[in-house]
């Protein structure tokens, strides 16, 4: 169940994880993409962190919407519209429910619609989908997140810049999957899990 406190904590921890692992995320993007994913996410989360401190929103929908708007306007690339849309759909859904599984589910639907991608195409969807499936049934574990991230290595990229590598993408973890891995492990660290 999202609250103002745990949502802010989540985003703060996610920001930390992104800043700390910025170089690693860009490095993952280098062999199969254009090497900017870490920088893109870091720029976006810096802006999110600043605006949340600045505006001090007092309800969950406002937090999610501010996050969405700043990801959309600061990240760019593929990750900006995707993460931005995810948080925007979560913000909309949060008017109805604060349960985490249906919120993430709304976010994922937005991602799929925006990117015209689906499971198995070596994108962040390959982390979101199993994470949500597990949350719908019971508590999520950090191990399950990591397993999902690492499982993207075996996939062949067919969406996004990475797709241009085709066969040669096999064996490399997808950078968007890796950043989504941090999104979900920090969510657990913030105490958000199956309710």
């Amino acid at each position: 169940m999202l609250t103002v406190e745990n949502t802010l904590k989540w985003l703060a921890l996610f920001n930390q994880a992104i800043q700390t692992n910025q170089a690693q995320l860009s490095a993952l993007d280098t062999p199969i993409g254009d090497g900017d994913h870490g920088h893109n996410m870091a720029r976006g989360m810096t802006a999110v962190t600043e605006v949340l401190a600045d505006k001090a929103p007092t309800d969950v929908p406002a937090i999610l919407k501010l996050t969405a708007m700043n990801l959309i306007t600061k990240v760019g690339g593929a990750a900006g519209p995707l993460y931005g849309t995810a948080f925007l759909e979560m913000a909309k859904k949060s008017a109805e429910t604060l349960e985490i599984a249906p919120l993430l589910s709304a976010g994922l639907a937005g991602v799929e619609k925006r990117g015209h991608a689906t499971v198995g195409e070596k994108t962040l969807i390959d982390v979101w989908q199993p994470v949500i499936a597990q949350l719908e049934q019971g508590p999520l574990t950090a191990e399950a997140v990591t397993t999902a991230v690492e499982a993207t290595a075996a996939l062949r990229a067919t969406k996004g810049r990475a797709s241009y590598l085709g066969e040669r993408s096999i064996g490399h973890v997808d950078p968007g999957a890796a950043s989504s891995g941090y999104l979900f492990t920090t969510m657990l660290e913030a105490g958000i899990n199956h309710d």
Binding site: T30, P31, D34, G35, N40, I72, T73, G115, T158, G160
Partner: protein, 331 residues
Amino acid sequence: MKKIMNQPSDIVTEMVQGLVRSYPELLKQIPETEAVVYNQDLNCHPQVGLISGGGSGHEPAHAGFVGDGMLTAAVCGQVFTSPTPDQIYAAIKAADAGRGVFMIIKNYSGDVMNFEMAQEMAAMDDIEVRSIVVDDDIAVEDSTYTQGKRGVAGTILVHKILGAYARSGAELEAIERLAQQIVPNIKTIGVALSGATVPEVGKPGFELAPDEVEYGVGIHGEPGYRREKLQSAEQLATELVGQLKKAHHLTAGEHYAVMVNGLGATPLMEQYVFMNNVLDQLAAENVVVDFTKVGDYMTSLDMAGVSLTLMKLIESNWTDKLKEPVTTIGW
């Protein structure tokens, strides 16, 4: 990394400032963005607004093609990173003179998504927006699961032809139809002699041995289709012309436009030598070359290498439009 710059994270901001300050008669910066618009009263001769953009690092693309007869506005994203929808939206608004706006998008999922989101924002303002996705790079043919081919230097020819039509008063629908006709006739393929270094990364995206080239590298350093030893300009031309021949089903008697595009660090001397070989090989195929252009148009930072674009000229109008004079920095 040896670059003339200040803070890597400021490079796009400072570049856009340097650009508009150097060409104030042509460009003005759209406030609070890194987008530029043609510095004229657009309502004097209202035409369909043409906008393009994408990640930076491809200069003179796209801001260098803003001006009379080409683009109305261009959006400069971070280096190799699609610009955000708010910036594109600002460019749409600035380019609109009441006759709608047409967006020329290179086929990268980030670009496609960000431009699409901007279009959704513009729809709320009742600005009519249409678009084309340019996918001229034949280097990497993917399976049907992919989002297709990349958009590269051929995009400049799209700017040129659509720009000429827009200037002559064509309506938004006509421009859209024309875009759909020309894009499938534009095909490009490149060869890299060295990788490009993104300022914030500090080292080349890929490394080639001192005697090695890679065919089909993308303009962001995406992997190509083959590495081999650097041979002569003639042999490079044979490979690239050969691939384009296949992709175009090139046939004697057809008319083509030919563009040799430097990737950033390759001197014009080498580009002219390469063009000479390309024209020899096209002459041997008995195709008619109606338009030729050589230089740096769609670069990839400091990457060395060239791309070759062949556009099949199905309508003689297209040739005229390619040849019409324009006032821009980069054409």
